[in-house]
Amino acid sequence: MGGAGWRPAPEHVGWTALAAIAAVLAGLSAASSLNYASVVVAHSVSYVVPAFEIAYEQTAPDGTLTANSTVRASLALRVENPSSRTLRFSLVAYGGWIEDWPLEDGWNDSRKNQDKAVVNGSGSTYFFPAFGESLNVVKDPVPPGGNATLSLSFALSRATDPQRFDAMRNITEWGAARSGSPSAVPWNHWVRVDLTIDGVPEPSSNEAGYLRDLRRIEFQWGSNLGF
């Protein structure tokens, strides 16, 4: 027995094991912090640059809408992503309201209950809700340090929504009479873009709303006047 080799004391084994576990936990903590920081930074530094365009198609020679015309709202949503995380489009909601000049001029107040009033210093401005759309989007992701543009188009015609289209006709005709062109009538645009961060799973618990917020980046642009 006297020739037995060196054996570490049990305490040394214990301290070595403790140091190893501590090192693993410190590594996991650092990795978790970096992962969490990159997610929060993605929330902070990414942004959306929206562009809106309203087109009146197949109009009469004077620019007013006919029964066969189409009002088309086109959106180009450019997402800039300076972060190190990949972002994915998830949901887009769009609202477009046209200023109701006939109502404001006292010529047609039939839409007073339907319109959305915006109170400002000099009085109220009324907007007619022409577009209200939301859709889930599947598109190529926004790469880290890059950008991506999502283009969408929504159409309003007599075939899709006769009541709303007739109101649009009335408003644009009044606009053409008052200012020479339907395009002179102001619009109010609002858009919401939801993006998800790759690598952050959907929380399974419905109660942890802040975890859903951690995964999802929500941008809003413009004033939502309601529908």
């Binding site: 903590s29 969490y36 997610v39 902070s44």
Partner: protein, 158 residues
């Protein structure tokens, strides 16, 4: 006198090290409890069984290296502020990148608020795990200093 101070210093440095270890475990567990989708390994929801097992296993491990019940109790409680500090550091890590503007104290407060169940859980787990570790240690190598005790020289039976 010098020997007594040295022994006391060793005892408290051991308590400090084991408190730091338990605090590191508690801080990581708290972060994983609050942000399971951001903690590594990533999960869709906090694994309470996994977190409890981690806390208990670590407490047993610390108990194996603890001097006595008093030291184990002190460690169990000292681990709480250390754990809160570790979890807070992890939670404010985005602010430390300089790319996020947020009030660090608000984040720390929210971390303590959301992680409160972990801190409550850690007290009995640390104490119980420490006692279990001490019990195991006393079975393997009984005595006040346990593992650390120098081998006893064989008695002379003349």
């Amino acid at each position: 006198m010098g020997f007594r101070l040295g022994a006391r210093a060793r005892r408290w440095s051991r308590i400090g090290l084991l408190s730091a270890f338990l605090g590191l475990v508690l801080g990581y567990a708290t972060f994983a409890f609050i942000f399971p989708t951001a903690a590594i390994p990533i999960g869709a929801e906090p694994s309470l069984a996994g977190i409890a097992a981690l806390l208990f296993g670590s407490a047993v491990m610390a108990g194996l290296l603890t001097d006595d019940v008093y030291a184990g109790t002190v460690q169990g409680f000292l681990a709480l502020p250390v754990g809160a500090a570790v979890a807070s550091l992890m939670i404010v890590s985005p602010v430390l990148t300089g790319m996020v503007q947020a009030q660090g104290d608000v984040l720390v407060f929210q971390g303590i608020q959301f992680g409160f169940p972990m801190y409550v859980l850690a007290i009995p787990v640390n104490l119980l795990g420490g006692l279990v570790g001490l019990g195991i240690r006393d079975r393997i190598a009984p005595g006040p200093l346990g593992f650390a005790r120098a081998p006893t020289p064989p008695r002379n039976h003349e």
